[in-house]
């Protein structure tokens, strides 16, 4: 009887301690990140490309409101603009290729000897008589010559601001407002400032065969990352210290890519994401830790970030694509398989815009 009383006392004490613990040490449960469906728009009913309306060399003319700037998209040979509120500004077909930016686009022929730079509403901003293919990034406009070894930057009026001949074939590219970075077949990484001055010219060694398979520059231009070489392949991260770039981090990779790979910094520049055989490798700029998100896919179509919190990855080939939104390290918020031959993904703030063949879908990130 005495034993049973002791046991009862112990149980009561434990329950009481538990109640005290929950009252005193209460900690709110973490909210779940979920994607809330927004709108769906069909490109089949969207307006066709507007004819050029006017010449305006001063700058872009955009019909969308400032609060909802145009978002460019490309689905195979088709391209266009839409806004976050679901307005399809137009869609068009590129004769061979198209350079796309939020404020301008330029379509070009295979044997391009010139092109017009147009605003999303179809107004002609500039005409460029330059042989080669245009490409736009980070608010800057470039042309690559037929030799794939010569690059020029265009001014806003379409004039050649500078030209640089690498002496080797350019294999990959990324840009920030302050520096355009090119990876070359000969293993060099060349960074060129907005004035045409060379800010970086470096050839990482350490591999049997030199070559650059991917480059990325942080939005502030202070970090440059590259995947270089064969036998063995390396990840190299360079940091700008005083006025020069120096290798701040490097690691041999398990990969053996012989084609350009996806890599890029997040919009806040805090993380570098890069394609790896097991999915996506993530390098943290502050801690210098590396993590990986495993995504079984044989090709990568798009890599972006959602408000700095999630990595958004669109992968797959053929008719099956996969959208993965993952919080680091590798906690999947969304893992969605979709049937689509052509697809794209874009993010703005807390919203994901997913294009699949004839449709564009908006989804918003929310906490519940």
């Amino acid at each position: 009887m005495e034993e049973s009383g002791k046991r009862r006392l112990t149980v009561a004490g434990t329950v009481a301690a538990g109640i005290v613990y929950f009252l005193v040490c209460a900690f709110p449960l973490q909210k779940e990140l979920v994607l809330v469906p927004g709108w769906t728009r069909s490109l089949a009913q969207s307006p066709a490309a507007a004819a050029p309306k006017k010449v305006n060399a001063a700058g872009p003319t955009v019909s969308a409101s400032a609060s909802s700037p145009p978002i460019p998209f490309r689905l195979g040979g088709r391209f266009g603009y839409f806004t976050a509120d679901g307005t399809i500004l137009f869609t068009g077909a590129a004769p061979y290729g198209v350079a796309l930016a939020p404020d301008a686009y330029a379509t070009y022929e295979r044997l391009s000897e010139g092109f017009a730079i147009q605003s999303p509403d179809g107004a002609t901003l500039a005409r460029v008589a330059s042989v080669g293919y245009p490409f736009f990034a980070a608010g800057r406009r470039f042309v690559i010559a037929p030799d794939q070894a010569t690059v020029s930057e265009l001014s806003r009026s379409g004039a050649i601001a500078w030209t640089y001949e690498f002496g080797s074939v350019a294999t990959c590219f990324d840009a920030s407002p302050s520096m355009a970075v090119f990876g070359l077949m000969d293993g060099r990484i060349v960074g060129i400032g907005a004035s045409g001055k060379v800010l970086l010219d470096f050839a990482p060694g350490g591999s049997h065969i030199p070559g650059v398979y991917g480059v990325a520059v942080s939005p502030d231009g202070l970090l440059v990352a590259a995947i270089t070489g064969l036998d063995r392949q390396r990840l190299v991260v360079m940091e700008k210290r005083s006025s020069a770039y120096r290798v701040g981090y490097h690691r041999y990779l398990a990969s053996d890519y012989r084609r350009p790979v996806y890599m890029g910094f997040t919009a806040d520049g805090g993380k570098l994401a890069y394609e790896s055989p097991s999915g996506v490798g993530v390098f943290d700029r502050t801690s210098r830790d590396e993590t990986a998100i495993s995504v079984p896919a044989d090709s990568r179509l798009g890599l972006t970030t959602l408000d700095g919190r999630l990595l958004v990855l669109l992968s797959g080939s053929g008719e099956e694509k996969r959208l993965v939104c993952a919080a680091l390290p590798d906690r999947r918020v969304v893992d969605l398989v979709l049937k689509a031959e052509l697809a794209f993904v874009e993010t703005r703030g807390d919203s994901i815009f997913l294009g699949a063949d004839q449709d564009i879908v908006r989804m918003d990130l929310a906490e519940r």
Partner: protein, 290 residues
């Protein structure tokens, strides 16, 4: 001959090794449409453009694939004017680029034997084709090398052609042959020459291998299309004095050779041109400098 020129000559010699032909033709039988140094759309071609009946592209030597890209599939968003292309690492630090392949035909095999099929010549990217642009890069020297130095010699029955020689200063141009005299002074000397090509889509007259200028028996300039290298953001050709590729041609389409002072008296000017097969042609003028 300066130090850079010696280095380049040594590099080419090493690449050649003991054999005169280090590589095999990637197309067979090859038709040469553009030679190393051909001026096309404002740029010098740092390779050769070829075509053939069947268009089957074969590896010029044993090697390892180091780069392979389908037209328009660059993950970084960089356009690819070379279209579908592959890069093979051959021996002795030689990398060869086989570009403008027909879509979907490029090989993805990693280990390559000489003669292996790499794809089909096509018209992907910026080429008037269909054809193949074949480029050789010497990784050790960081230079483009004229592939014709490394390939078996072609039987060429048409020697190079010297079309004209012109002296110019300010806006005055004297074309020798049309004029027998000109005032003394410093002139830019330029010559119009070409070697025959047998493909219709050549963008410009194919370049010869070498152009030698002599004045009164002394060598005044030697422009040779053997190697080219990027220096300070410009592609340089290594002639008797390094020359920027984009300054190589005058607006009239002549090759700029040198700038030289001509003093009063009778002067003998000779131009000798050779192609990669060793065929030579020369022309001479005797003029009166007033």
């Amino acid at each position: 001959m300066n130090c850079g020129r010696l280095t380049v000559a040594a590099a080419v010699f090493v690449l050649l090794g003991a054999s005169a032909a280090a590589l095999d033709w990637p197309l067979s039988p090859p038709r040469v449409a553009a030679t190393f140094g051909t001026y096309a759309k404002g740029r010098v071609v740092a390779g050769i453009a070829l075509s053939s009946e069947d268009g089957i592209v074969r590896s010029a030597e044993d090697g390892e694939l180091s780069f392979s890209l389908e037209d328009g599939a660059n993950a970084s968003g960089l356009p690819t004017p070379l279209g579908s292309y592959i890069v093979i690492e051959h021996q002795k630090g030689v990398a060869a680029i086989y570009s403008h392949l027909a879509p979907g035909t490029r090989s993805t095999a990693l280990k390559i034997r000489a003669g292996d099929i790499l794809g089909k010549s096509g018209s992907s990217g910026w080429i008037e084709g269909p054809g193949l642009v074949f480029q050789v890069f010497d990784r050790r020297a960081g230079s483009w090398v004229n592939p014709l130095l490394l390939l078996p010699q072609l039987a060429v029955d048409k020697p190079p052609v010297i079309r004209s020689l012109a002296l110019s200063r300010a806006d005055k141009v004297y074309v020798l042959g049309e004029t027998a005299s000109f005032p003394q002074g410093t002139y830019k000397v330029a010559v119009e020459v070409s070697v025959p090509a047998d493909a219709a889509w050549t963008q410009g007259p194919p370049a010869p291998y070498g152009i030698r200028l002599s004045v009164d028996g002394d060598e005044a300039a030697y422009l040779v299309f053997d190697v080219a290298r990027g220096e300070g953001g410009r592609l340089m050709l290594f002639s008797s004095a390094p020359v920027a590729a984009d300054e190589l041609r005058t607006k009239e389409g002549r090759y700029s050779l040198t700038e030289r002072l001509f003093t009063r008296g009778r002067t003998a000017i000779e131009v000798r041109v050779e192609d990669a097969a060793g065929d030579k042609r020369s022309a001479s003028w005797t003029v009166l400098v007033e």
